[in-house]
């Protein structure tokens, strides 16, 4: 069981900044995120896109912003449960909560901050009859353990970076790898495209374009698929695995079952401190809604800051809190580090 002061669900910019603000008030945070790395959409969808409305940064790449936020909160030693989705919420008699992920990891805290953006990122599934029947029986949407595919035949569908990267990676491990894409052009890093072409020329992978998967066959397990090449040529290919990689789309998912007041696919909060209808659980950033809400990173930062004030009062009943300026008090990390302004030197001149 992981124990922490504030459990943050969602490791995007708002969640990461909440770690810093909580740290200033001596509260420790742990973050859960369905993605394998912190940064949320900024890291997953648009790391190379510039953002122009972060105060103090005329221009910053989304990926750089995440790196900066990580380094800003590092001294407060946040814990991470990555690649797992927060699934279940239980409330204990002492007022604390237990959150269990889809992989069974349990987290205990008195305060929860939902900073889940648009929800957790789930793979986009192609529209194919019987697809569900073969899930985990030959159809995978993510590659967690490549060894699973060792000496097997694999068909990958998709035209983006992940389809290209996994084609390259699996080429060495699998008996055969076939990449299928609806167009002749791929939308990926140029060197990945070149690498796939090189592997194709060496007969290490098969590339079939323009083609689409039409049907899946197999008794209990996936055995073969039907593909349509160039509109009118239909072909069946035997395979052990089919891995469709068509990107990710965010879903509110299990959070919608936790008992929150939901409006417009977002969690309603009180703008005093962004607390939800469940005392002790806050919602900050794009996942919340209130009158006048704007889904902007800078608004998420503000919400995270105010949320921490109330969280402190819940964790430290009876203690008075005074706002401290980092320019005056500096920043004292949980790792023993200390940052503060240099003291000005006063020296008298004796003549």
């Amino acid at each position: 069981m992981i124990k922490t002061d504030i459990l943050i669900i969602g490791a995007g910019p708002t969640g990461l900044f909440a770690v810093f603000e909580a740290g200033l008030l001596k509260m420790k945070c742990h973050l859960i995120d369905a993605l394998a790395q912190p940064g949320g959409q900024c890291a997953e969808i648009y790391p190379k896109k510039p953002i122009y409305d972060i105060p103090g940064f005329p221009e910053i790449l989304a990926g750089e912003l995440v790196d900066n936020l990580m380094s800003q909160c590092k001294q407060f030693e946040p814990g991470f449960t990555l690649g797992e989705r927060a699934d279940k919420l239980e409330k204990l008699d002492d007022g604390s909560f237990i959150v269990t992920t889809n992989k069974g990891t349990k987290h205990k805290s008195k305060i929860i901050a939902i900073a889940g953006g648009l929800g957790s990122f789930e793979p986009r599934k192609p529209i194919l009859e019987n697809l569900q029947k073969y899930e985990d029986n030959g159809v995978d949407y993510m590659i967690k353990d490549p060894q699973k595919f060792k000496d097997k035949s694999v068909i990958i569908a998709g035209g983006g970076d992940s389809a290209l990267d996994w084609t390259i990676f699996l080429a060495d491990i699998c008996k055969s790898v076939t990449l299928i894409h609806r167009r002749n052009e791929f939308r990926g890093a140029l060197d990945s495209v070149d690498k796939v072409i090189e592997l194709k020329d060496k007969n290490k992978v098969n590339v079939i374009t323009p083609a689409e998967v039409e049907k899946l066959h197999g008794d209990k397990k996936l055995e073969k698929i039907t593909i349509r090449i160039n509109q009118d040529n239909v072909k069946e290919i035997s395979t052990d695995f089919f891995i469709p990689l068509f990107g990710l789309s965010p879903k509110l998912g299990p959070l919608s079952e936790w008992g929150f007041d939901i409006e417009k696919n977002a969690i309603k909060v009180d703008t005093f401190d962004y607390q939800t209808n469940i005392p002790g659980i806050f919602a900050i950033g794009d996942i919340n809604t209130y009158k006048g809400k704007l889904k902007l990173i800078l608004c998420g930062f503000h919400e995270a800051t105010l949320m921490c004030q109330s969280a402190y009062k819940i964790l430290n009943p009876g203690k008075n809190l005074i706002l401290k300026y980092t320019t005056v008090s500096g920043v004292h990390g949980f790792d023993g580090s200390k940052k503060e302004a240099e003291k000005s030197v006063v020296k008298s001149i004796n003549s």
């Binding site: 648009y46 609806r182 417009k264 977002a266």
Partner: protein
């Protein structure tokens, strides 16, 4: 007068005739959001960067639109429910020559 009129068929088949400003550098996805025609979180997920296809639409009128950019074409090649008249509504900016445009919002995926 800087507004034009646009007709939008939503995912349930309901028709909405709306006024669209040409002086706000708004795109069709933002227009749909501004009138709250579809549920928040089901359209324009990536914010309008041609990176998610949640704002896919079908152009129903005969308007000549600006050609697709590489981003849009690549994203549509990975989207579902794609038809001949599919476009990403976030890539179509509201200009005077779009007056009378009709489009349908593609199913969510």
């Amino acid at each position: 007068m800087t507004d034009i009129s646009i007709t939008i068929k939503d995912r349930t088949g309901k028709i909405h005739s709306v006024n669209a400003p040409t002086d706000m550098s708004m795109n069709l996805m933002e227009l749909v959001k501004s009138y709250e025609i579809e549920d928040e979180g089901t359209i324009g997920t990536c914010g309008g960067m041609a990176m998610c296809a949640s704002c896919q639409c079908y152009i129903l009128s005969e308007h000549q639109l600006k050609e697709m950019g590489d981003d849009e074409e690549a994203m549509l090649s990975e989207a579902f429910f794609v038809k001949e008249n599919s476009r990403l509504s976030c890539q179509i900016f509201i200009t005077k020559d779009l007056d009378g445009l009709e489009f349908e919002i593609a199913p969510a995926s």
